[in-house]
């Protein structure tokens, strides 16, 4: 990226977030240029997209976290045989066909092949069927389990849930993130935006301080991305397992020396909608690989 757009970005960002003054403008360790994310030599994913109008110029363009990772990590995501997350997505696919609960049903009993779920992830989170709540993918899954299968709800960050959301996300691989932020979703989106710009914790840092004002810069050993969620759940090499969207949020809030919100909380669902909307137009990456 050249100097000029970065400058414009930093200025626009400062204006968009009136509560925050702009920060030092620096250009180094920027995202990689001139590379395409093509999976299995077959599926080209969109890793850069024009910033959506609702961002009011807060970002010059939206970028997948993939662009900020090192060569070896990026390569792992380009071939399903090398992508360590695929094992978990396979386990999720197995669960899809596994009977569970008092009704003696599996997900497949009603939904058919898991491929039928193509498109679902791209619109998550969205307003619940009753119209009075905002649901993440996890809520939809648990709703089917408890009300339709007579099975117990899975924990938000349980292996079953993460494997299932991985398998479901994979079905939407390549489709653009497209969440509704108007109508009944509007108040949730506003709430999420407020959280995004709030400087939490003893370090008094907002999501925007790191992921809007300083993406491309280094914070200690970490190369800051825009904090997008189009690749989730992601496989983290550090913990050798999947990480959910809310668990990632929790880690980021904790690192500001703040009291976190709980995975599944209304706050994190609102934040998920807002962050998803910041990545509007990026491809759902199914399951990404991170350090």
């Amino acid at each position: 990226m050249q100097k000029a757009p970065r400058m414009a970005r930093a200025l626009a960002g400062a204006l968009a977030a009136a509560a925050l003054a702009g920060s030092a403008i620096q250009a180094s360790a920027d995202p990689v240029e001139g590379v395409d994310l093509v999976v299995n030599n077959e599926i080209t994913l969109t890793t850069r997209a024009p910033a959506p109008a609702h961002l009011d110029g807060a970002l010059p363009e939206v970028m997948s976290g993939w662009l900020f990772r090192e060569d070896a990590t990026r390569a792992m995501q380009m071939d399903d045989f090398d992508n360590p997350a695929m094992v978990f997505a396979d386990m999720g696919r197995d669960l899809w066909g596994t009977t569970d609960g008092a009704e003696g049903k599996s997900c497949a009993s009603c939904h058919g092949n898991i491929e039928e779920m193509r498109g679902v992830r791209a619109h998550m989170p969205r307003i619940s069927p009753a119209g009075d709540d905002l649901w993440s993918m996890e809520n939809f899954v648990n709703n089917c389990r408890t009300t339709r299968m007579g099975a117990e709800a899975w924990g938000w960050d349980s292996n079953e849930m993460m494997n299932m959301t991985a398998a479901l996300s994979l079905q939407s691989r390549g489709l653009p993130v497209d969440v509704a932020i108007d109508g009944p979703a509007a108040p949730w989106w506003e709430k999420g935006r407020e959280i995004y710009y709030t400087r939490f914790g003893q370090l008094e840092l907002a999501c925007s301080n790191c992921h809007q004002d300083h993406f491309g810069d280094m914070i200690r050993a970490d190369h800051l991305s825009q904090g997008q969620i189009n690749g989730f759940p992601v496989y983290r090499l550090k913990t050798a397992g999947l990480v959910s969207i809310h668990n990632r949020f929790k880690g980021c809030v904790r690192d500001t020396r703040a009291e976190t919100f709980k995975p599944g909380s209304a706050e994190f669902r609102a934040l998920e909608l807002y962050v998803a909307s910041r990545g509007q137009g990026l491809s759902v990456e199914g399951v990404s690989v991170r350090p």
């Binding site: 920060s23 620096q26 400087r199 914790g201 008094e204 280094m218 914070i219 200690r220 929790k250 904790r254």
Partner: protein, 166 residues
């Protein structure tokens, strides 16, 4: 524009401070100024927070240690080559003591937002006014008597090291 005018002539690090670094005995507990009792002048703090002079050696260590100063998370500090992975969120700290007076640097460490409006730099000697403060990096709520990230002596120690950066 937010950068304040640079005042100069910082005091040299005293030989005594360096000697303290080699002392194995902990310094005696001395009077210190609480965060709320600080006398500010335009983002600067003239009076030391403790009676005991800052120790540059300890300061250097604090600046590279994560739960403490961890200044290298955001700043390049060439004088601390052992601290691997230095960030570039803020400016490199080379020559900080030529750009700011001791009083200004003390103010920047205590609460940089009084110098740089809305700064991303955390306030290291502040105990209230936070939104959902946590108990260090546990993710749990902070105790009622949340301690500052650095105590008064540690602020003076970090300052002593910054004053060597000419």
């Amino acid at each position: 524009m937010r950068r304040i005018a640079t005042l100069c002539a910082p005091a040299a690090v005293s030989a005594a401070a360096i000697t303290t670094a080699l002392t194995i005995l902990a310094p005696p507990v001395l009077a210190e100024t609480a965060p709320a009792a600080i006398a500010w002048q335009d983002g600067a703090i003239a009076a030391p927070l403790t009676d005991s002079p800052g120790d540059a050696g300890r300061g250097a260590e604090l600046m590279a240690t994560r739960p403490l100063g961890n200044c290298v998370a955001c700043h390049e500090i060439a004088a601390l080559p052992a601290a691997s992975f230095q960030g570039n969120i803020g400016p490199a700290l080379e020559g900080a003591a030529t750009r700011y007076s001791e009083a200004q640097l003390r103010g920047i460490i205590v609460n940089a937002k009084n110098t740089f409006d809305g700064s991303m730099m955390p306030a290291f000697y502040k105990t209230d006014g936070f939104i959902r403060p946590g108990d260090a990096y546990t993710g749990k709520a902070a105790p009622a008597d949340l301690p500052p990230i650095l105590d008064a002596q540690q602020v003076e120690d970090v300052l002593a090291f910054l004053m060597t950066m000419k």
